[in-house]
């Protein structure tokens, strides 16, 4: 009896969720900066954002690997966005953040960025259009580029997808 009631409730909540995916589909993105460029990760991919943590370096690992951290008892690999996007290195400062994301393999990894800015809403249609134009940049992790509309500036936001990250070669 109680079980069937639960099922009905569950059904309702499923319907609610269905409503959200109505005609105007928007997705939310977390923007962050690396070397004065603005990037964005899908909110759904970001697990959390950390302030500076103590990073234990791994001797002999790929240069993009900053090391590992203790995230509530779990060991999480931390990459450096600057090395990743082939930019000059910069030491950790007050604005530096670690964005923790779950990869497609189920592994959780973090990436060090210069700063985390805000969460923006993008029309899924715009994102899809961007996806079609991107991809020939040589970087497999850049989805595409969208204009930074809200602030009226002419800067672009680079949409990033880290889910496909996999084994990094040895240094």
């Amino acid at each position: 009896m109680s079980q069937s009631a639960y099922l009905i409730n569950n059904q309702n909540s499923l319907d609610d969720m269905g409503l959200e995916q109505g005609p105007a589909v928007i997705s939310r993105w977390v923007t962050f900066t690396v070397a004065d460029e603005t990037y964005a990760l899908n909110v759904l991919d970001v697990q959390e954002v950390l302030r500076a943590a103590e990073i234990t370096p791994i001797p002999g690992a790929h240069p993009a690997v900053r090391g590992i951290i203790n995230l509530r008892g779990n060991v999480v690999t931390i990459l450096d966005a600057r090395v990743f996007f082939a930019l000059p290195e910069k030491p950790f400062d007050d604005d530096s953040r670690i964005m923790v994301a779950e990869l497609r393999s189920g592994e959780v990894a973090g990436i060090v960025v210069d700063s985390v800015a805000e969460v923006i809403a993008l029309d899924e249609a715009v994102v899809n259009a961007a996806k079609r134009t991107g991809g020939d940049e040589g970087s497999a992790h850049i989805l595409g580029v969208v204009p930074q509309t809200e602030k009226g500036s002419d800067k672009l936001i680079i949409l990033v997808d880290l889910k496909g990250l996999s084994e990094l070669g040895e240094k």
């Binding site: 370096p57 001797p59 008892g73 990894a109 990094l168």
Partner: protein
């Protein structure tokens, strides 16, 4: 029937029948030693029967046809109509292999192929093999009921499939044998044909068995088969003289009548269980333990449930079982791993508390922490125990391995198992299985001599291989010893030079022990000819790698003419690792304590450079000396030279001792291994990471990996022992 892995019935079957198969392995070999063991014969018969029943229910025809024939043979064996011969055992062991490979494919969700008609026929032929020697009375009977099989009911249904009736020596009819592997569409027709044929046969049964009051096994068999099969027939009551059986078949057919209108031909799990239980008595049915709970959850209660009144007649037979309340629970290993992980976390918190209590300086806090410490240790021990499995699980397969290997080589070997009940972490049990098989095979192949050679040397013709396990503190010692030829250190030296693994001088410098350990090198083989079993020169290397991965140690002892003993030392569990915490370049690292043999100050030791390699002399023994800070240097970090307070940690890597220079030693700490993420998989040299008592991360060193990464291969590091 779908064979997708998530099919729970299939999973249950695979687990339970899998256990039966494992047991069969040693039971069959045991039978060879004790051919008249009635208990054993019955157990084997029951095992085949249960597997067949389950497979029949899941419609895995290839399994059914093999099990069915094996069951027939064991039926004859336990009735004393056949006697156990090596020929029979060989076929039966092959049957077991076939079953194992079928199970493997079922686990992948693939319907296994049939073993093929020739093999099936070969199994059947076994029942004829000893016919000539049987009592004369039976020949009379044998001629009598011949016309049964091609009875008019059967013929029209069979089409192109040949149904042949074989006779057992008693003269009572066995089940018809299908000569051609049936294709799917024909199978149903065939089943019906079988049913009809059996019905005809069982009608004859009472006459045949008049000499005895008891139901014969054939009749019993026939009954069982019909209960499992399709429900179209009406059970003829007069067939079953024993009231229990009558009750069972009666119940069954009533149930069948009820469910038939629903258009369902398959019997439910529940019914199947009930019938099996009533036939075997619950205590003996190997599936009884866990099953009752599972089907209850699976089967929708409404339409198919057996009314209580109907199930009543089934109960009286096993009166004892009521008392036998199940005290074990089957738990998913994933859940156990999860609990273990949580306990690991708790251990880390405890470690932190232990560090913190010093700063509190409060007696009450200290006491509470001490209690927490104790409870955590107990909990850790208790959880670890739940993951423990007796080493028997691995040992169980060795009688077969030894038997097969010895038979193939024409040797006589007895296997002695000691300490089978020693408990070991589940993961270790699995990880040790393959290396041990390898070592045992090696013992039989390389160690034990041929019977005539042994006799000539005044040894008994039969060699002995002893496999023993024992717990020693937080380690398990496994040893494989044989009373065979032993190893000749001189020969090993020569071979290693011949194979280009070692220079002549280097070989000459090895002491006897080190010579034996040469066999652990990749590419080393003393055999000139490669056999099926061993001699390719890869085996021992693989064994060593596997043992090292388990942070275990392996050492070899041998005396020419007396025998060889291989000792393996592995930690009790892999989840929690005792380590030595050291500091290198201001970072903490953990070295598995199992491989640490000594710690000493560097200041008072003499260091020589031999062939470009720093070497330290410890008690007249020269060890290669490496600086860990060189191996663990980050890019751009200066490589420092000799520090005044440096300590040297002596560790055993594979067969070799090396000396490692560290900045300082913190002490011993039990750590929980946290694997490094996949992103770091190809970074060699680290077994994982751990969180230390003060909340920091320490990398756990994998020294073999570190050595591989840091020492140029041309130096042949493993042989760089300078005596």
């Amino acid at each position: 029937m779908a064979f997708e892995p998530e099919n729970e019935l299939l999973q249950d079957f695979l687990i339970e029948a899998g256990e039966l198969l494992d047991a069969l392995d040693s039971q069959l070999v045991g039978l060879e030693q004790a051919p008249n063991d009635k208990e054993l014969l019955n157990a084997i018969f029951r095992a085949f029967h249960t597997i067949k029943g389950g497979a029949g229910f899941l419609e895995v025809t290839p399994l059914v046809e093999v099990c069915h024939r094996a069951e027939d043979i064991f039926n004859l064996l336990r009735n004393g109509e056949l006697t156990v011969t090596p020929a029979i055992m060989d076929v039966m062991l092959r049957v077991l292999d076939a079953l194992n490979s079928m199970f493997a494919s079922l686990r992948r969700g693939v319907l296994p192929p049939s073993v093929g008609a020739p093999f099936l026929h070969e199994i059947e032929l076994l029942s004829h093999s000893q016919k000539a020697g049987q009592a004369p009375a039976q020949t009379v009977l044998a001629a009598e009921p011949a016309p049964v099989a091609p009875s008019p009911q059967v013929a029209p249904l069979v089409h192109s499939v040949v149904v042949e009736t074989t006779r057992s020596p008693t003269g009572s009819s066995e089940l018809p044998v299908i000569k051609q592997a049936p294709i799917d569409t024909q199978f149903d027709t065939l089943l019906q044909a079988l049913e009809a044929a059996e019905a005809a046969q069982t009608a004859l049964a009472p006459e045949l068995s008049t000499s005895s009051d008891l139901i014969t096994d054939e009749e019993f068999e026939a009954l069982l088969d019909r209960l499992h099969g399709k429900g179209q027939f009406q059970a003829p009551g007069h067939n079953a003289p024993e009231p229990v059986l009558q009750g069972a078949s009666g119940t069954h057919s009533s149930v069948r009548d009820e469910s038939a209108p629903a258009g369902h031909d398959d019997i439910t799990d529940e019914e199947f269980e009930r019938v099996l239980d009533s036939l075997y008595g619950k205590g003996q049915g190997p599936t009884a333990a866990v099953k009752p709970a599972a089907p209850a959850a699976l089967t929708p209660p409404a339409p198919k449930a057996v009314p209580p009144a109907l199930s009543k007649p089934v109960e009286p037979a096993p009166a004892i079982e009521a008392a036998k309340v199940e005290t074990t629970v089957r738990v998913d290993t994933e859940r156990l791993d999860f609990i273990m992980n949580l306990v690991g976390e708790l251990v880390l918190v405890r470690n932190r508390m232990n560090t913190l209590k010093l700063s509190f300086n409060n007696e009450e806090v200290t006491q509470v922490i001490a209690t927490l410490d104790m409870v955590t240790s107990d909990l850790q021990g208790a959880v670890m125990k739940t993951r423990m499995q007796p080493v028997k699980k691995v040992f169980g397969r060795f009688p077969r391995v030894v038997r097969d290997t010895a038979r193939m080589l024409g040797k006589e070997v007895e296997l002695v198992l000691v300490g089978e009940e020693t408990d070991l972490d589940k993961n270790l049990v699995e990880a040790l299985a393959d290396p041990l098989v390898h070592l045992v095979r090696n013992s039989v192949d390389h160690g034990i001599e041929m019977p005539d050679v042994r006799l000539a040397q005044g040894k008994p013709a039969q060699g002995t291989v002893t496999l023993s396990a024992a717990q020693e503190g937080d380690h398990i010692r496994l040893s494989i010893s044989d009373d065979g030829a032993g190893m000749n250190a001189e020969l090993l030296r020569r071979k290693s030079v011949e194979k280009g693994l070692l220079t002549e001088e280097a070989a000459a410098r090895l002491n006897e022990q080190e010579c034996f350990e040469l066999i652990l090198l990749p590419g080393f083989s003393t055999k000139d000819a490669i056999s099926d079993i061993s001699g390719r020169g890869v085996g021992m290397d693989v064994v060593k790698t596997a043992i090292t991965r388990l942070s275990g140690l392996i050492n070899i002892d041998s005396a020419p003419g007396v025998g060889t003993t291989i000792n393996i030392k592995v930690p009790l569990t892999l989840a929690i690792l005792p380590t030595l915490m050291v500091v290198v370049s201001e970072r903490k690292y953990a070295i598995p304590l199992g491989i640490v043999s000594e710690i000493f100050e560097m200041a008072d030791k003499e260091i020589n450079i031999v062939d470009g390699q720093a070497t330290i002399i410890v008690r007249d023994r020269a060890l290669p000396l490496y600086r860990l800070n060189h191996w663990l240097a980050l890019t751009g970090e200066p490589m420092t030279g000799r520090g005044l307070n440096d300590l040297v940690v002596m560790v055993q890597v594979g067969a070799q001792l090396i000396a490692l220079v560290v900045d300082s030693v913190i002490g011993q700490e039990e750590v929980v291994i946290k694997p490094l993420g996949e992103l770091l998989h190809n970074v060699g040299g680290f077994a994982g990471a751990t969180i230390t008592g003060d909340g920091h991360i320490a990398l756990i060193l994998d020294l073999p990996g570190l050595m591989r990464r840091n020492i140029q291969p041309r130096q042949k590091p493993k042989l760089k022992v300078v005596a």
